[in-house]
């Protein structure tokens, strides 16, 4: 103790703090932008239950296990659960939010290209959790309406 100079430590701590401030503010800003839900986003109600996903579109159409959406639109998921906690996850679009009974969590996304993506449950929910999957099917935008 005592007989060494301390300035390298102070510089080092300063650098670490500066790095953390930088990471924190970038993250804050990115999250703020990502969470801004477009006003025209269509609502899709997502319900998790042991061990499948069901979906309800704004027009009342219901789907189980599969979700059809269209390129170029924005969608807002209202996620809940009928029994235990699940977590709604479209990995390719970094959509991830818990489905908690008694609570509605919202997250939005906009499909970019036609294609199919996996939907999975990402929170342990019992026996068949490992197979609580679904398919996201992204279709060509409607030209008729």
């Amino acid at each position: 103790m005592g007989h060494h100079s301390n300035w390298p430590e102070w510089i080092y701590i300063g650098v670490v703090i500066a790095l953390m401030v930088w990471v924190g503010s970038e993250a804050w800003n990115a999250e703020r932008l990502v969470e801004h839900i477009p006003a025209d986003a269509e609502v899709i109600k997502v319900t998790g239950q042991q061990w499948f996903w069901s979906f309800e579109h704004e027009d009342g159409t219901k789907e189980i296990g599969e979700l059809h959406v269209k390129v170029g639109k924005a969608y807002k998921f209202e996620i809940t659960s009928k029994d235990v906690n699940h977590s709604f996850n479209i990995h390719d679009y970094v959509v991830l939010l818990d489905a908690v009974p008694g609570r509605i969590n919202t997250v939005w996304f906009a499909p970019k290209e036609v294609g199919e993506h996996d939907i999975q449950c990402r929170e342990y929910c019992g026996l068949i959790h490992y197979n609580m999957r679904g398919k996201l099917i992204i279709e060509e935008a409607d030209t008729t309406s």
């Binding site: 103790m1 060494h4 301390n6 390298p8 430590e9 080092y12 701590i13 670490v16 703090i17 953390m20 990471v23 924190g24 970038e26 993250a27 804050w28 990115a30 999250e31 703020r32 990502v34 969470e35 042991q50 029994d83 235990v84 906690n85 977590s87 996850n89 970094v94 991830l96 939010l97 818990d98 908690v100 009974p101 008694g102 609570r103 969590n105 919202t106 990402r122 929170e123 342990y124 929910c125 019992g126 026996l127 068949i128 959790h129 490992y130």
Partner: protein
Amino acid sequence: MVLELQKPRPIWQIMFSTHHTDVGLMYLITSLIFLFMGGALALAIRAELFLPGSQIIADSMTFNRMFTVHGTTLIFLFLLPFASAVGNYFVPIMVRYKDMAYPKLNAIAFWMIPPAAALIWLGFADFTWYANPPYSIISAPGPAADMWIFGLKILGISSVLGAINFIVTILKCKHPDMSMGQIPLLAWSFLTSSLIVLVAIPTFAAALFFFFSDRLGVSGFFNPAMGGNPIAYAHLFWFTFHPEVYVLVIPAIGMMYEIIPRFSRKPIFSHSSGIFAFVLLSMVSFSSWAHHMYATGMSFTEKTVFMIGTLAAVPASAMHVFNFIATMWNGRIKFATPMMWAVGGIALFFSAGAGGVVNAAMPLDFQTHDSYWVVGHFHLFVMGTIAFGSIGFLYYLFPYVTGRMYNERCQEESMIILQSQNGLL
């Protein structure tokens, strides 16, 4: 123990002794047994996951039970007892007192572990170490779930008793000539981690009561079907278990503070900044618990607060790393076995911490949350930093307590193997 090898005592004399080195030895043996048992489960889990689909484990429920007991065992029955072993052995010696402050309480705290372990292993619950309600209340099979609750309850009481003992031993029984600033950093690490235990454990202890009465159906604290809120459990759980990760890592850092100066043949760069960083860590450990809950549907403001709280803990950890490097700087370093483990552990501390920063940065966490990334993050800490520090310390102690030397080559190989495995994680 040198004496023991020359003139062996019957095992029951060690078992029913309240002397701190005997209790320490019992902690050590227990923790190593559970290291192997929990490790065996890990091997089975990985073997099953070698190929997709079901191979060696017949049904998914057995698999779920295995990873639950794996996590519970290695955290509560390996890492914590290992730290207690080292603390029991050295804290009284370092503060120059004849024993722990309360020797009988010390033995009682140890003897709570075997029944708790029996409950956890005979029950073999399936709901992950986090016991996520309402699944764990309405859906998880009993009596395994109930046995897990009681097992953890007992372990919590044991931790609290142990922590009280360390705190009193250090603060009240230290040699009157010794100032707080002179207490070795290893003993400081036990003082700060024990303070965390005292503040952190009660919330989860309360949650376990609620959880159990919810399972009995007489209450619905965490059960939405009865008006409860599962998110409340998450808060109570993580308020205990985020600080708890520092209870695991702080003693390992303390052990490195013994090894690094010895094999650099230099005193610690700054004893006082080591103390400062321990105290700071124990405080900031309470500012970040809900970084585990970004995906539960928290508001933007809540997430921001807990991100800042998490990043605030980084400089304190970084100070320890600086202290280690500065101690080694210009030292005549001897890469003996304990030193290799300690340096390896510091390197992994850095990578694990960097992973933690990624988890803390909110938008990135939505990539990593509930994925193998998080599994990698904390295994770098628990199998990397903490186990490396602990194993290095075991090698460091071995000649002292047994009067014999281990096989240096054999262990160098084991260190290199484990280091490369951690890289693969």
